[in-house]
């Protein structure tokens, strides 16, 4: 518990990840699933970024070129990785959203359970 409180940033990130994960897993509504996916990803990125943070350090943009001191700057690697990750998650969002639009135009609902029910009943038509 003490460790959790000291690592509050990471703990919050993990809680966000788990909320997003369960939203993605349990919600039957496609849009909610997609938002859950985004929350899951941002939780992960927060987790990664909070690892690079050092108390009292600055962003890794060099101000004085002649005197570079390691301890002045935060770890730049997590930022670079997160930047890559954000692009991946926006691409995934776009694809899943367009799938949602397609599903809606076909089945007229966003609820996956209903979609399955309709698909099962109209199965024979499509062959």
């Amino acid at each position: 518990m003490k460790g959790l409180l000291a690592n509050y940033e990471e703990a919050a990130a993990i809680i966000l990840f788990c909320i997003g994960f369960s939203t993605l897993l349990f919600h039957r509504n496609m849009l909610k699933k997609i938002i859950g996916l985004n929350i899951m990803d941002t939780g992960l990125y927060l987790f990664l970024a909070s690892m690079g943070y050092i108390d009292g350090a600055r962003a890794p943009i060099l101000t004085d070129v002649n005197a570079i001191n390691m301890a002045d700057y935060i770890n730049p690697v997590p930022s670079a990785l997160v930047l890559t990750g954000i692009v991946v998650s926006v691409s995934v969002t776009a694809i899943t959203l367009s799938l949602t639009v397609r599903l809606y135009s076909k089945y007229r609902t966003l609820n996956l359970d209903e979609i399955y029910a309709i698909a099962r009943r109209t199965e024979k038509e499509e062959f």
């Binding site: 509050y8 940033e9 919050a12 809680i15 966000l16 909320i19 997003g20 369960s22 939203t23 919600h27 039957r28 509504n29 849009l31 909610k32 997609i34 938002i35 859950g36 985004n38 929350i39 941002t42 939780g43 990125y45 927060l46 970024a49 909070s50 690079g52 943070y53 350090a57 600055r58 962003a59 943009i61 935060i74 997590p78 930022s79 997160v82 930047l83 954000i86 692009v87 926006v90 969002t93 776009a94 959203l97 949602t100 639009v101 809606y104 609902t109 966003l110 609820n111 359970d113 209903e114």
Partner: protein, 99 residues
Amino acid sequence: METFKIILLLMLIGCAICVSLTKRLLTAVIIFMCYSLIMAVVWILLESPDLGITEAAVGAGVSGILLLVTLKKINKTETDSEESEEEQKKKAGDGDETR
């Protein structure tokens, strides 16, 4: 500063929970955009301004726009007073979680 950060983190968690509990999809999308903005601020506080800019532009901007366009496309955000109560309920019901 640390208190501010903790408050922001709590708000993030609150937003995340609200998204999965709220009934209306439009509300969920708007809460998600707020979530992204708060996240951008958190990243500025974590001394990663690159991520702050990107998250504000992508999470709140582009993802938000795409979500809203999708919502609009599937015709869920309209509120029309001429419509009967029943119709509206049906509408709200099928866009949202059926428990």
